[in-house]
């Protein structure tokens, strides 16, 4: 009973929190689900694709735009776009590089499934520890690693001041949260259209349904795979910028782990391989986590989230929307 009244009192607050977090989970989840759709492979290095974007975002704010205090108007839009594009490209590029170096050589040799998993974990650890060393003090032989993370501690540039845009039933919704949801919805919509309407998108769906037949029909499989990784990467890239912007946190080497794990969970929840499933799975997971706090307390967040996952999988083993590969 206490649980219900608490949720009732905090309903709008927690809905706002859950929607913001869920939108970010959804954007990351797409990378997992698209790669799975095409290759039946879980890209466990995807959390580091996300991490790269958070690092590039803060580096851009700090070192390119010299942000020391919040700015407004056109300048703010230019700074955000000026950081968003490189962050998305860096994440997309990282995803493509992972595919090229960690997966393609295995695919060419027809390696067993397990090898891909190990390779994924290896790529993930490699990227994490590479960024640990990027504080401007470490060398590989005579080559100094770039000081992208910089020596800690550094101030966290915050280009955007938090302001309340509107209030709904006593819950203030800030401009940053509105931005997260708007950007997420636009990007998810564009992606959905891309996969459903364009030639390349059709290629992705064709390869997901039957790679061999798709190849015989003239689909360039390698190109489809690279596109899939790149598109998943740029979605994670946009998520990375929004994540550090709304939470005001520093980028660091391990930042991708928890969001990556949650996004993977969201993808499974929605039905792995299913793009719309990943979107809704992300939102659902974000909401469940948010409502758990008033109901059971913050320490139960992960327990409840994963109990929900298990229950859903017991009833629908392929996720809420089914493992509809290539939909």
């Amino acid at each position: 009973m206490d649980c219900v009244t608490s949720v009732y009192h905090q309903f709008w607050d927690q809905t706002r929190n859950g929607l913001t977090l869920g939108a970010i989970y959804a954007m990351i989840a797409l990378g997992y689900t698209m790669v799975y759709g095409v290759l039946q492979l879980i890209n466990f290095a995807h959390s580091e694709v996300f991490m790269v974007s958070t690092v590039v975002t803060l580096y851009a704010f700090r070192n390119w735009f010299n942000i020391s205090e919040p700015i407004t108007g056109v300048a703010l839009v230019l700074v955000l776009v000026g950081a968003l594009i490189p962050a998305m490209l860096a994440s997309g590029g990282t995803a493509v590089a992972i595919e090229r170096l960690a997966y393609r050589p295995l695919r060419k040799r027809g390696a067993p499934r397990l090898s891909f998993l190990i390779s994924a974990i290896g790529a993930s650890l490699f990227l994490q520890y590479l960024f640990v060393l990027m504080d401007g003090r470490h060398y590989i032989l005579f080559l100094k690693l770039p000081p992208i993370l910089g020596p800690s501690p550094q101030s966290i540039p915050a280009p955007m001041k938090t302001e309340t845009v509107f209030t709904i039933f006593g819950t203030a919704v800030s401009n940053k949260r509105v931005l997260v949801v708007v950007v997420a919805v636009v990007m998810l919509f564009v992606l959905d259209r891309f996969v459903r309407r364009t030639r390349l998108g059709r290629g992705i769906r064709a390869v997901a349904q039957d790679a061999e037949t798709a190849a015989m029909m003239g689909v360039n499989i390698e190109r489809v795979i690279v596109t899939t990784f790149f598109v998943g990467g740029i979605m994670a890239g946009a998520a990375g910028l929004l994540y550090v912007l709304v939470l005001g946190i520093p980028a660091f080497w391990f930042i991708g782990f928890v969001p990556g794990l949650k996004a993977f969970t969201a993808a499974v929840l929605g039905g792995i391989g299913n793009i719309r499933g990943a979107m809704l799975g992300g939102l659902l997971l974000g909401m469940v986590e948010a409502y758990t706090v008033p109901c059971f307390g913050a320490q139960w967040t992960n327990v409840v989230a994963f109990v929900v996952l298990v229950l859903v999988l017991l009833v629908r083993p392929t996720g809420i929307f089914g493992e509809q590969v290539g939909a």
């Binding site: 905090q10 607050d13 927690q14 640990v132 501690p153 203030a172 939470l247 005001g248 706090v293 913050a298």
Partner: protein, 403 residues
């Protein structure tokens, strides 16, 4: 690239990594000079020399190195102290091989550290068995004293001292009426926040919420819950980076409360991460950040000095008592590391409340049975700070400000 080129590249890369790893290994301070008859001894410093938490430990490493350098340069001091690197990156998982290296080094006479409580639990038995004195300057978990380690000593106050006084501080100084207790569910943060809650309750403060949240990035759900609880004050047991996120996101969400945390949050990372949200935040730490030693430290390390030198003075003092032990052992006729180890222990055991070593942070004496830091008034060992204008501003010790 051809297959051959790939292979050549791989070989070069492996060599590069090995070379890089080897070149780091010999990072020791070995001051030159000194009389020829001086005995060479090694005191290992165990803690996070590198890794994501090293900024919490580097100031005490610097303090220890400074003291070792001074002692070795002193003509009347009978030994040359090399500060050995025992780098665990602060993790208990990494400790066993590092401890093995320390125990296996025939020149080891003592260990300063381990810096964190978790790694201490993973290391203590080995040092005890090898009969190597180990003196920590910053591991504050209460249970460390309950292992029956006779070679272990602690030169700071423990978390019970801190938690109990923090609870009183919230009631008496901050004026908390409704307190929300939260922590990172860790070995350090959870017991600390519980002690604070109990102490505050005993002072008549109402506890309106108690929640643990593992380190995460988005604390909005917790903040909404704090807001709904009607708390006027929040205590967080945990580390700086997380506390900074909570304060920042809380202030951002319009939460108006008094914030407080313990020594895990006292760092320049907290100051830089929390930004303008940190103004007015209360902190406690059993380390004197503003004593005379700080000026000396800043002069020695210049731009390398930390702006919040946590446990730097304690690191210096721990090396001082180890050094004094070495001196008395050698003056008493010890020549082998084994004899010097025994001599250091004899000296440390002789430090009592009535006969302390005059450290730069405080007089150093140990409880004869637990080897906890002892003082005439233990409350003089805990310091309170408040963030003012982006810096840690001292409020005094628990003995000064509490009833």
């Amino acid at each position: 690239m051809t297959k051959k080129a790939y292979r050549a590249f791989a070989v070069v890369a492996v060599f590069a990594l090995v070379a890089a790893a080897c070149s780091k290994k010999t990072e020791q301070s070995n001051p030159s000079g000194g009389a020829a008859q001086k005995i060479d001894v090694t005191v290992y410093f165990q803690g996070a020399w590198t890794g994501p938490y090293n900024y919490l430990v580097v100031p005490s490493i610097q303090g220890a190195q400074l003291r070792a350098k001074e002692l070795s340069a002193d003509p009347s001091f009978p030994a040359n102290i090399t500060v050995g690197t025992a780098d665990t990156q602060g993790s208990g998982d990494n400790a066993p091989p590092v401890v093995q290296q320390v125990v296996g080094d025939p020149n080891t006479v003592a260990v300063e550290g381990p810096a964190f409580s978790g790694e201490t639990r993973a290391s203590g038995d080995s040092y005890e068995q090898a009969q190597i004195p180990f003196v920590t300057q910053s591991a504050t978990a209460v249970d460390l004293a309950q292992n029956g380690w006779t070679y272990w000593y602690r030169t700071v106050g423990n978390d019970d001292l801190q938690g109990g006084n923090d609870g009183k501080f919230l009631a008496q100084v901050v004026g908390a009426k409704k307190l929300f207790i939260t922590n990172d569910k860790g070995d350090y943060g959870q017991p600390l926040s519980q002690t604070v809650g109990d102490a505050a309750k005993a002072e008549g403060v109402q506890i309106v919420g108690e929640e643990g949240v593992e380190s995460t990035d988005d604390y909005s759900a917790l903040i909404s819950d704090i807001k709904a609880s009607g708390a006027d004050s929040v205590f967080y047991g945990g580390y700086d980076a997380d506390f900074a996120k909570i304060v920042k996101q809380g202030v951002d969400a319009g939460l108006k409360v008094n914030w407080m945390s313990g020594d895990g949050s006292v760092s320049n990372t907290f100051l830089s991460d929390a930004g303008s949200a940190e103004e007015g935040v209360y902190l406690s730490i059993p380390s004197n950040l503003g004593g005379d030693f700080t000026a000396k430290y800043n002069q020695e390390y210049g731009s390398q000095a930390s702006s919040v030198p946590v446990y730097a003075a304690e690191g210096y003092d721990a090396m001082s008592v180890i050094g004094e032990g070495i001196k008395q052992a050698i003056d008493g006729g010890a020549t082998t590391p084994t004899d010097i180890r025994a001599g250091i222990k004899t000296y440390l055991d002789s430090l009592t409340v009535n006969n302390p070593y005059p450290g730069v942070a405080k007089p150093i004496a140990f409880d004869p049975t637990t080897h906890e830091l002892a003082a005439v008034d233990p409350n003089s060992l805990l310091y309170f700070y408040q963030v003012k204008n982006g810096a840690m501003s001292p409020l005094g010790t628990a003995a000064d400000v509490l009833k």
